[in-house]
Amino acid sequence: MSEPDGDHHHPTPLSPVEARARALEELLKEKGLLPEGFIDAVVSAYENDIGPMNGARVVAHAWVDPAYKARLLADGTAAIAELGFGGPEGEHLVAVENTPAVHNVVVCTLCSCYPWPVLGLPPSWYKSPPYRARMVREPRVLLREMGLDLPENVEIRVWDSSAEIRYMVLPERPTGTEGKSEPQLAALVTRDAMIGTARLGAAPQHRFGGPLPDGSLRGPKSDRLL
């Protein structure tokens, strides 16, 4: 069980709700309602085994290993399987690469097709009528509204997932990351960069959200990294 923050002589008092949570845990352990190690296993499963962390690991591996990157671009399904990823909505995966001259973005105009094994569950906005209607029609304008301003000379490729192929974007590796380890690189990759509504390493020009009054960057309803 975690200790309160602070050093031995000036420990931080527990907040009332944390005290209640801790009391619950002690009680449940006493009554044998929770197997040993269960809580840790649950947190690990929900934090690590779903969601865009899988895609971020694929991207980071492609950045550090040029041969893997080539395999990823040639056969996405086989390449993600090398890292242990696959399953429903990922049986036919194509990875599309961003370059200084080309920016890729993914949509499903007809419903909400999305590469679950690498990106987890699709965000609400991806499934919304405005996104589905507008991304194929005015991608540069829509991306700018969503915080990504691309120069006119960058070609925008919009991939409409209308058949069985599922797409993920391989973002460009940000500059100044030469010394980083693969896990450190994976931590830089955002879900939105793998959908194509964001690029990495650029300052966000977002008109939504922004820092909360306490300086943190996320709220209960926000699932975008700003």
Partner: protein, 241 residues
């Protein structure tokens, strides 16, 4: 069908709300939903096309005015009633009120098509035009590309044609292709410059572009493809998706 779900290119929706909060579904229906979810998994609802088409058949105002989760629910319930798994009376008794269903499948929705030959009809670089088809039943050919000219950028494997599969037809497998469309071809001269759209299309949605010939490959078409796109094909998928 030319349904409201086929949203590509539609105007008038306003900004994308990236912090949109999906309303919590009405509590009375939660019990119904969880029960049906169990039925669905027990029945192993395999026919994705039939399920998608059930959603496409929703009343347009209902579709546009409801959250994603309600699309799923409406499509599921409609299918289960149509298949006789549950009755409408039973459904509404459990949920405590009227539940809007999707409209019935149209007469004439059932179509047939020819499976692909062993070799794909088109190759990377082929100049193609999307057929001017407007089926009453399920299709995965978006309206915004019908009749438009594009270039094949990638050849994928063979997959069951949804237009047939969704309506219970015999398995009809055809190659699918990623077809590249220039923004101006789709949206006219005023379109975003430097924007292209790739759409994945089944073989029977495509015909050779006029004046190019059956094989559909011309030097002009090849030149229109960027170098990094040419020549890359996804490996053929095993039959049995």
């Amino acid at each position: 069908m030319n349904g409201v779900h086929d949203l590509g290119g539609m105007d008038g929706f306003g900004v994308v709300d990236v912090e949109a909060d999906e309303p919590v579904f009405h509590a009375a229906w939660e019990g119904v939903v969880f029960g049906l979810a169990a039925v669905m998994s027990a029945q192993r609802l395999r026919n994705t096309g039939a399920f998608r088409h059930a959603i496409e058949r929703m009343d347009p105002a209902h579709y546009l005015g409801s959250p994603y989760y309600e699309h799923w629910l409406t499509g599921l319930i409609t299918l289960l009633i149509e298949q006789g798994v549950i009755s409408r009376a039973e459904l509404e008794a459990r949920g405590g009120g009227h539940f809007p269903l999707s409209r019935p499948v149209r007469a004439g929705a059932v179509v047939s098509s020819t499976p692909s030959a062993a070799a794909p009809r088109f190759a990377v670089g082929s100049a193609v035009r999307v057929c001017n088809l407007h089926p009453l039943g399920h299709t995965r050919c978006p309206r915004y590309v019908r009749g438009k000219h594009g270039t094949v950028a990638r050849v994928d494997g063979r997959f069951p044609l949804p237009d047939v599969a969704a309506h219970g037809g015999a398995r009809c497998e055809q190659y699918t292709y990623a077809v590249r469309f220039d923004g101006h071809e789709l949206w006219g001269a005023a379109a975003d410059r430097g924007a292209v759209v790739y759409v994945d299309l089944w073989e029977s949605y495509l015909e050779p572009a006029a004046g190019v010939g059956a094989a559909g490959r011309s030097p002009t078409a090849l030149q229109r493809l960027p170098a990094d796109v040419m020549g890359r094909s996804a490996p053929p998928s095993p039959t049995g998706c």
